[in-house]
């Protein structure tokens, strides 16, 4: 699964993109965030508080309880602030 990070999530993790292979138990986006938080101190800083995060699966906004089933690209980022 390809992960993309934006804004301060990208800065905290230290990279904008990475390939991961989470265990079977990681079912939805919230599970993924929880699992990622244990991967490194940078990941821990980025993923400690899921309420500050938003997500997209295959370039569509989704809620954090959305199953990852079949997802090729998952993006994690803070709430958007364009315009």
């Amino acid at each position: 699964m390809e992960l993309l990070y934006f804004a301060w999530v990208r800065e905290a993790v230290g990279v904008g993109q990475e390939r991961v292979d989470p265990p079977e138990a990681v079912y939805n986006v919230a599970d993924l965030i929880c699992w990622l938080a244990g991967q490194s101190p940078g990941h821990a800083a980025a993923f400690a508080d899921p309420t500050k995060l938003r997500a997209a699966i295959d370039q569509r906004f989704v809620s954090l309880d959305t199953p990852l089933h079949g997802a090729k690209e998952v993006a994690l980022f803070p709430p958007v602030t364009g315009g």
Partner: protein, 144 residues
Amino acid sequence: MIRVSIDPAPIELALELAALEERGAGGVASFTGVVRGGDGITALELEHYPGMTEDALCTLAEQAMDRWSLLGVTVLHRVGRMEVGERIVFIGTAAAHRREALAACAYLIDRLKTDAPFWKREWRGEAASWVEARESDAEAASRW
């Protein structure tokens, strides 16, 4: 006619408005967002999600075309670093009647704020901070 662009280059207002006027509409409405100074801000930096951003803006433009009787919609967003006074975003709508053009313009800027994956960073000299999303933007988007 829909025109959507995400570009680091400056927004050319006169060209964009002329293109909308040439749609043969009776009315053209526009909204331009400009980098505002004050509070020590010296520049703004815009990051986006390439690919998804274009899709999100095209979808918004199509929704506006479906909902109102429009002859043209233009949605432009700059990315990268912008100084105070520079344009960040441009929304332009062309319609036979003013009501449609104005309503669609307000819709597009309200929805762009919540539906398109952009992130804004404020620079104050050498210090940068990510802008937090505002509750009022979610409320404005939900009224449509």
